[in-house]
Amino acid sequence: MSRPHITAGFLPLLDSALLVLAHEMGFAEAEGFTLGLTRESSWANIRDRTALGHFDISLMLAPMPIASSLGLTPIATPMIAPVMTGLGNNAITVSANLWKAMADAGAPGDLAAGPAGAALARVVRTGGKKLRFGVVHQTSSHNYELRYWLASSGIRPDLDVEIVVLPPPLLPEALGSGSLDGYCVGEPWNSVGVANHGARIATTKSSIWQSSPDKAIGMRSDWADRHPDWVAGIIRAIYRAGEWCQRDVHRQQAAEIMARPAYLDLPVDIVTRALTGQIDDGAHVTAIPDFFTPHAGAANFPWKSHALWYYSQMVRWGEAEASPANADRAAATFRPDLYRAALAGKGIALPAEDFRSSGDQAQRHAVPATNGTVELGPNRFFDGAVFDPARLDDYIAGQSSR
């Protein structure tokens, strides 16, 4: 029998690293399948072509399969996310002009979300032109993260500023031409803004919410049901790629692969920044070791509680209706059961629970695993809030909106 050939869509983002490495470094091959990668031009195409079956799997914004399962997308199809492609890897970048105003308003320039947000709030309050921020897609971590940062800093995302959508590669230029004042995007598109358009990185995802999810490998749930062995192989290949990429000695090689024309088509230097956690914010280089975590701290594990947090934000911003059925559907989209089954019996410590709180741990800490314990990174939100999935309704009720 010939090896299965699995088609996969991706966008030019560093978050596609594990998918690309699974192909380039032979982790897919080792699991008995080949990967056919197609670079797409928009998240809408990724979503529709995966829903139609043109792609078997895709690198997806983590909230995207949830939105599809909740029926919020044009071709509403139940989808699942059985493996994540890492934690962090986004930042919020602002124009040189906006940064000057923020610095004058007291932004210290240390990439910390709290002080940067407070300075932005002072800028917004002084009036003047309404600031315009770009995000990559509506149901994206970027949109929810940016809105969370703004709202917790005292800025009403739908009233005090304007939020528009543009695909990642077009954001830096839009900032450079003055049609945007800032944007929230995955790497390397923050570093491109810094390098080519005099932009300034204001804060990072790892500071807004530590150890937070961002992208997943998404697929139709009926496809996954028909091909359980392939799904297990995909989970293992992504897991192995993550393990490989996590090692510091491999980061440079990973950057060289990702910089190639078929993937990011950018100078290696730009791609290296996020992969090594050496973030050049436009003024100085700051070491942020957890900027992108491809594997450590159970970074590939699809926590159902993360799915519920995304759902809470969809409700907060009026995209989804709050109902127990919707909450169940959102949680059911993330499949830790498939993850555990695919990696069972390999001596790997896998999280034993499907849910955990976020915002309650300021340090590295151990949680129960199928095989002893597994260590997770700190998970604080910059505003000190705690998300307890067992008290979802209270969390939703306590959120500001608009």
Binding site: S41, S42, W43, A44, N45, D48, R49, L52, H54, P74, I75, A76, V136, H137, Q138, V164, V165, L166, P167, P169, L170, E319
Partner: protein, 196 residues
């Protein structure tokens, strides 16, 4: 039956393709067709033309921008825009294969929209065919230039007439089971290496 009263907006960065679709729709009796090439203009255009159907090329990286605009316009009491029909998988499939996507104002009957999407799909396919043929014609022209050059070399160096030079190239290609342009290219390369 076409629905001539429908307002249709075409968004395509490719101006030629946009005008091909526009023409097709006008021929089918649609009088209210607007065309824009940049998604950023969509806000104003939607306000002016109130489209019932919006056709956009799938290659357009700003589909996300457009969809976001729809979600905003819902908030200002504009009807929600959606993909053609959730149940009509075959139509969607055909559209995506052709590289076109359509958004339809909520509540519009499927029968009224299908002819428009079918038209867009067939025009998109026709345009791809046209582009391919143009590409083929262009490379045929290139090939003829190379063959002419090779003929010239043979005529000059071996004192052949033009038909004989052509016949020699053709015979050599057949004997070696290669394309004539490849033989001609080798000859041109060799001649340039050997100098004038």
């Amino acid at each position: 039956m076409p629905s001539p009263d429908l307002s249709i907006l075409i968004i395509d960065e490719n101006r030629i393709r946009a005008s091909i679709i526009e023409e097709g729709l006008r021929e089918a009796g649609h009088a209210r067709v607007a065309v824009i090439h940049d998604v950023n203009e969509v806000g104003r255009t939607i306000a002016e033309t109130a489209p019932d159907v919006i056709v956009i090329d799938l290659e357009n990286p700003k589909r996300d921008t457009l969809e976001h605009f729809f979600s905003l316009s819902r908030a200002i009491q504009r009807p929600i825009a959606m993909f053609v029909d959730r149940s009509d998988g075959a139509t969607i499939e055909k559209a995506v294969e052709a590289g076109v996507s359509a958004y339809v104002v909520d509540g519009l009957k499927k029968e009224r929209v299908k002819p428009i999407l079918d038209m867009a799909v067939s025009r998109f396919n026709a345009f791809s065919r046209l582009t391919r043929e143009l590409e083929e014609a262009r490379s045929a022209l290139e090939e003829r230039k190379i063959i002419d050059q090779a003929k010239g070399i043979l005529m000059k160096t071996r004192g052949l007439s033009e038909p004989d030079a052509y016949a020699l190239l053709r015979k050599t290609a057949m004997n070696q089971n290669r394309r004539m342009v490849d033989i001609a290219q080798s000859l041109v390369t060799a001649a340039s290496l050997l100098g004038p």
